[in-house]
Each structure stands twice: as structure tokens, then as C-alpha cells.
């Protein structure tokens, strides 16, 4: 029987506890053990960023973090973003197509919007370097980030998505 270790963490505001093999990656723990399948795994070399989650507020690739390393940490996944302005901005700016990299794109963008809101377009593109999206050509992801920054500046209430957009 493989050794298992006890872990406890706060995921999307709820305390979770469990036992994992030491080699279990956070991404698999979230998906397979907690059923939080919003976090996607797109590669095995920590390049694509689809699995990005916030760990104690900072974006991390959850395929690069062992579940045991996240012990005692606060984790936010895409499921914990419900009705965030970043999601709304992605919808309105068409910042996603197939949606597979989107959870990672959203988590990274949320961090940019909150921690680097005065970034220029060039800086936003640099900050998105940890993300690979095959669908959008990034154009509308960049626009979505800018849109979310504007919403935050205007302190737009985080309400329903506008049905028609004229971006």
C-alpha cells in the first residue's frame, strides 16, 4: 500500500481535508478527489497554464504543485469565481472559444486585473506568457483583460452579462 499523507486546505472558501499519495499533483487532487473539474490539464510540462489556480492569491500552475504543498493554503479555482467581472468580461469580449484553457486564463486574468491593473497592452501580453490558447490568437483575451480592468475602475456591479455587446 502506497504511503498516504493527510492534507487540509481551504478551497473556494470551504475547508477540505483528505489523504493523498505524496506524488499527487494539486491539479489531479482538485479534479479527481474534489470533483472540481473546471480546472483543466492541458500538458505535462507546466507550459500551457490551463490548470492555473490561485494559491494564497497568487496564480500557480496546479500541475506543478503537489497536493501536499498546498496543505494549509487557500486555493481558488474557476468554480470559486462565480459571477466575477473577469468572467463577464471574457464573455462580452469573446475571450474564449473551445473553453479548455479558459479556466486558467480566467484565474491568471483575475490576478492581472487585481494586482497589475495599470498594465499596458504590451505588458498584459507579457503577463499572459504562461498561457497557451490555441483558439483565440489571444486578441480577445487581451481585450477581455482590458475590459475587466475598465469594469473594476468603474466599479461596475458584478451583474448579469449584457446580451449584446459592441466592442
Amino acid at each position: 500500500m502506497t504511503e498516504r499523507l493527510s492534507i487540509r486546505m481551504m478551497v473556494n472558501g470551504q475547508t477540505v481535508a483528505g489523504q493523498v499519495e505524496p506524488r499527487t499533483l494539486l491539479a489531479y487532487y482538485l479534479r479527481d478527489d474534489l470533483g472540481l473539474t473546471g480546472t483543466h490539464i492541458g500538458c505535462d510540462t507546466s507550459q500551457c497554464g490551463a490548470c492555473t489556480v490561485l494559491m494564497d492569491g497568487a496564480p500557480v500552475k496546479s500541475c506543478t504543485v503537489l497536493a501536499v504543498q498546498a496543505d494549509q493554503c487557500h486555493i481558488t479555482t474557476v468554480e470559486g469565481l462565480a459571477s466575477d467581472r473577469v468572467q463577464r468580461a471574457f464573455q462580452e469580449a469573446h475571450g474564449l472559444q473551445c473553453g479548455f484553457c479558459t479556466p486558467g486564463a480566467l484565474m491568471l486574468s483575475k490576478w492581472i486585473v487585481e494586482q497589475r491593473p495599470s498594465s499596458s497592452e504590451t505588458e498584459i501580453r507579457d503577463l499572459l506568457d504562461g498561457l497557451i490558447c490555441r483558439c483565440t490568437g489571444y486578441e480577445n483575451i487581451v481585450k477581455a483583460v482590458q475590459r475587466a480592468v475598465r469594469m473594476a475602475e468603474e466599479d461596475a456591479p458584478e451583474t448579469a452579462v449584457g446580451r449584446e455587446v459592441s466592442s
Binding site: V78, H94, C98, E121, D129, G137, Y138, V142, G162, S167
Partner: protein
Amino acid sequence: MSGKVMGTRVVRKEDARLTTGRGRYTEDVQLPGMLYAAMLRSPHAHAVIEHVDVSEAERMPGVVKVYTGRDLKGRMGPIPTAWIPPNSDLKMVEHPALAHQHVRYVGDGVAMVVASSRSEAEDALEAIRVDYRPLPAVHSPLAALEKDAPQIHEDAPDNVALHWTVGTPVEEAFRKAEVVVKRRFRQQRLIPNPMEPRSAVAQYNASTGEMTLWATTQNPHIHRVLVSGILGIPEHKLRIVATDVGGGFGAKIACYADEILAAYAARDLERPVKWTESRSEHFLTTTHGRDHVDEVELAGTRDGRVTALRVKSYANLGAYLSTAAPGVPTILFGLIVNGAYDIPYASTEVIGVFTNTTPVDAYRGAGRPEATYLIERIMDAYAQEIHMDPVQVRQKNLIKKDQFPYTNPFGLTYDSGDYHQALDRALAKLDYPALRREQEALRRQNKYIGIGFSTYVEMCGLGPSEVAGAVGFQGGLWESALVRVHPGGKVTVFTGASPHGQGEETTFAQIVADRLGLPMEDIEVVHGDTDRIAMGWGTYGSRTTAVGGGALARATDRVIAKAKTIAAHMLEVPEGAVEVEQGRFHPEGQTDRSVTIQEVTLQAYLAWNLPPEVEPGLEASAFYDPTNFTYPFGAHVAVVSVDPETGEVRLLRYIAVDDCGPVINPMIVEGQIHGGIAQGVGQALYEGAIYDEDGQLVTGSFLDYAMPKARFFPRLELDHTVTPSPHNPLGVKGVGETGTIASTPAVVNAVIDALAPFGITDLEMPLTPPRVWEAITQSKGGRVS
């Protein structure tokens, strides 16, 4: 009530779930008692399997069963090919799901472990002992054709998979030509890399004999046909589900061994089985794209008229024939190498070659990017040869507006277009004369910018099915739609297309909303489930809106026709005297008296008082077979800078003027173009699969294979013209692949233009800094004379 939504930027219905982590991709499916499969793959490019010993693996913790190629021999069919181009002498070599005698590329499946967990299955792979006797391997198509090359399949002499020629005689035109330009272009091999890896979850119900297979596919119904044949499960007991699929780009068209092996194990073990490829496996085993060597000759006059084109292509098909592979370098390439130009004589010869590499199949554009690259590159070479501006050469040869419908030298009939207008728009946006002056001024400061053009046309929305048969595609190319109005007035649309990122849950709802006068919220589009949709052909080749949308428009119109009959009865007026507007039916000229679509629907289901001969219910289906292909076109321009010290290419501006016919949702269309351009630029500047001499894939991960990143791009400048296609009810032409098709040559032409002062006339893609730098340093001593 709703307003008109066609042509507006409606946000996508898909996005509410996809931005909240509620998508349901195959890998997200978790079933009680589920087992996990993992595949042992050949580490050799070419070898004989002498012996496989699984005894230790079988004793590993959690292992339920280990399967080898020998175990499966005769128990399941081979992996099929579904495109047999006529007169191509195609060699239908056997492709077993697991190799039992020979392995023919690195990644070829050798054994499958099924275990209680993912990690236990992977651990057990390491305990399988395989004795291989390595054989010499060959990875390049030209080397594979040499006399002493290793033979990959016994029944494909000289490694020739197919040999196909098409076109008109060109010899006389070449004899009389004032100018002949020759080039050899290499279309490097690309790895599609949709962000979602392939995955399968199979569940078998032993009591009913029913199999459900969740799979990452672009065409679940084609899979149902093929998987049914391979596993011997009748179609009515086989359900393929592909609801949310994380991109495909052609790589999820093919029928692969792994998904079927998972289903085989699920039936054998009577337990659900999941298999998901790692990204490394994707690099090795999911089909690759392109990989041509194209020898191109253009004949023309000194004053800029192209008189003939001759193309000879060597297409690397990899170790086996993937599902659509034989059609890609032939039908989808050879018939359109003249591009958007009126060239009287043209011929294409294609030699498809087996090599010890991953099978090659459709990748975004599939054949048309290869065709567009060679014609757009040789047009620039021709312009240079006769000292004419590349724009002027294009203007002289583009098919003129009044020539449509235009029949090209290969017999294709281009539907409609105004190619000059698209180029004019791009030039206006660019301010071409000013940019040329700037280029000249910068050169004097040893700074190099280049301007590259691509005035492309492509063919998509393939059909009618009669043509599919004539070109050897082993399927139909019509599409189905069922529109069901429920008693309460809500609508479910069932489409046989299978979008996986293209947004048709939204655009199809827009089509129906306007026709029925219902709000978008009341319309749900269902796709990707063979139990919910009777039949369809899937999403690829930019066909979904042109063909699937055509079916939907027809089905919706049939619903309206029936609703009108019932409404007339309710209003007590003759049927012909009813008008429909925004979901209300009223007698002609009398808007004060009307019934709503909801009232009509309710009556259709209550059936208390229907007109004679009218059956209850309100739904209609359509199986729409298009009358011909559609031909999107446009003009793309790239402006680049090249740093002569480092060889680095920067994309400064990118202008795309596209015509995909009437636009249903501009936001979605622009998104398709953005993404397409990024992939085409990827081929031009960054991406390329590299095999070493032993047939090992050197670029086997995102660490080694350069995917385009956000920082590589400027903001894209888009514009469009609208020329409806007469070939389908909506007039739409398709837009999924145009960006990829157009952008690669635009960027390469721009780089070559920038490097003109160094005397550089061609470079092999991708134009990476080392390659460009080396070319500069080797040219004229690396200095401008």
C-alpha cells in the same frame, strides 16, 4: 419580444458554463467503478516485436488486465481509412489498434494496461518487457522514396502510398513561356495541439449490449459508423457523446486506436474505462499536419500574366493512413493550387509517401494552406523575376468579378467573389505607397521591414454528397437539423454538426430566433450526441454554418410553414393570406388580429382543432445536401521587421480583409479569424516538428515545440466584404480556416521582402531567428552591398 439578432454581436450561449467551470469535457466524466487505461508505446521508429512479457505488469497493484496486440488480433477490426481518392492507386495498408508484429513509428501502440487508478496503470507500463529488433527507419518523404530506403509496409512497394495526377496539359504553355520560375517549397510538419488532449470514457451495459463512448471527436456520427464496424457493436446500441470538446483543428476528426481500445476493455471487463492522453502522447500519437515538399513551376509573360502552373508534391503521410489522410494532399490541395488567379493551364501530381513517423491528417485548412502557400510564394517570386510589384502581379491575375461562376483548370466552379475589392480595401488600410517609402528610408539606416501579401481563396462547405462519392470520401457531406418547438413555445435544435469551440450553439440559435421571432433564451442547440441526433457528419472543413446552417434554415422554414397553416385555421383565413412577423401570425394587412407562435404551438400539441390533414405536433427536420462548395476569399497583409543582428522577426502589423458571405455574429467570425491567423503565423515563424535520424520526435513537448504566445502578436486589423454564396440558403461561405490558410504566406512573403537587400529569395519555414540570422550572415558576407 425579440428584435433581429442575425448580424449582431450576441454573447455566446456556451460561455455561461465554460467560464464557470461547468463545461463537460470527456475527461470530466467520472463513473462509479471506473478503471483507467494507459498505453505502452513503441520507443523505436521501426522494429520487429520479438516478444512481449506482461506477467510482471499483471501482478502490479491495481492492475486489472493487460492487453497486447496478439491478444486483440482477430478480435477487433483494424483502424480504417475513410478517404480513397479515385485513380490514386492507394495502398490500404493494415493498421492494427495495437501492433502485434511490427512497430512503425515512435508512439505506435504495443500494449494497454487497465488498472484501478491512473497512476497504477502508468506504473504497470514500466513493468512490461518488450524485446524489439530495431530496423532502419526513415522519416523524410524524399528519403523514403530512395531505392535502398527501408520498406515500411510489405504491400506498399517503395513506400508509395498513393500517386495521383490532375489538371490540364501544361507542356505547351511552358514551351511558349517568356518566363519560367521554379521553386521547391517545404511545408514543415505541424502538430495541431488543441488544448484539450484526446480522451475517452467507455461504459458498457452487459444486460442490453449498449455501449456509450464519450470521446473527444469533431464527428461523433462518423465515429459511430467506424467504431461499430471495428468492435462489432450495432449502431443502434452504440452511443458516441462529444458535448464539450476542447478544440480539434482537424486532429479530432480521425478515428484513433486508443478510444476504441478503451471501449474494447470496457466491454471485456464490464466496467467503465477512461483513457486520456498526456500532452507528450498527443505529440507522438495524435495526427500531425502538412509535411509536403512541393516542386512548383510557374510560366508567365514578361508583362505579368501567368500562363501555366505545374506542381509536383511529395506528401508525407506517416506510418499509416489516418482516417481522412489520403484526401488531404490530393482533393483538398491539388484541385486549388491556382488559388485566386485565372491561370489557364495547371497540373498537380501528388506522391503520398509512408515514413516511420506519426500519421499525418487534416490540420486547420487541410491541403488548402499548402496550396495557398505555394501559389502565394511563387507569385512573389514571379513578381521579383519580372521586376514588378507583387500587388500589381496579383491585380493582373486575380479572377475578375465578372468571371463568376469561374471554372478553374481542375474543374472546380468558384461560386462568387470580388477579389480585387478585398485587395483594394487591404491596401487602403495599409497605406501601401507610404509604407514602401518608409521601407526604403529604413533600409538606408540598416533597418529592415517587409510587406507581404496573400490574396487567397479556399474551398469549404464541401458537397453535394454526389461529389463526395466522386472524390472518394467514404461518407456523405450533407447535414441534418431537427427543429422541435415544445408545447410551451421553447425550441430545441438538434444539429448533426459537432461544434467544439466555433460557437454554433449561439449562431444557430440566432438563425432560428430571427426566423421564428423568438428570443435567443428560448432556443437550445443540441449537438454531439448520437442518441439525441439521428445522423450527421460533424464539424470540419469550415462546413458547419454553410451546410449545417443550411439544413437548419430549411428545417426552421418547414416549421414556419406548418405553423402558418395552423395559424390560418385559428384566424379563420385562407392559409395564403397569413403573414408572419416577429413571431406573430396575422391576416395579410391586418396587424390588429394575430396569434403568437406560442399560441399556435400550443394548439399544434393540443390538437383540439387542427385543419384537416394536419398532424399534431410542431417540429421539422431537414437533410440538406449543398449544391456545391463555397469559396471564402480575401486579402491578408503582414508587415514585419527583421533584426539583422539576431535574425528575429517581429510582426508589426497584420491586416486581414475576409469575405465569408453574410455574417451571423461578427464577434464570433472575428474570433475565428484571429485564431486562424495565429495558427498560420505559428507555421510561418515558430512551429515545426523535427525528427532525428532515428525517427525520434525531438519536438515532443511544449518545451521544444514553439506554440504562439500572446506577446508574439500586434493587435490585428480586420475588415471584411460581403459576397453571398449562391450555393446555400444562408449565402454563407465558412470562416473557420481562412485565417490559417491566408496568413502563412503573407508572413513569409513579408520576411522575404524585408530580406531582399541581402539577396535572399526563399527560406524554409519556420523563420526562426537562427535560420534568418544564418541566411543573412551567409548572404553577400552578411552585408548589404
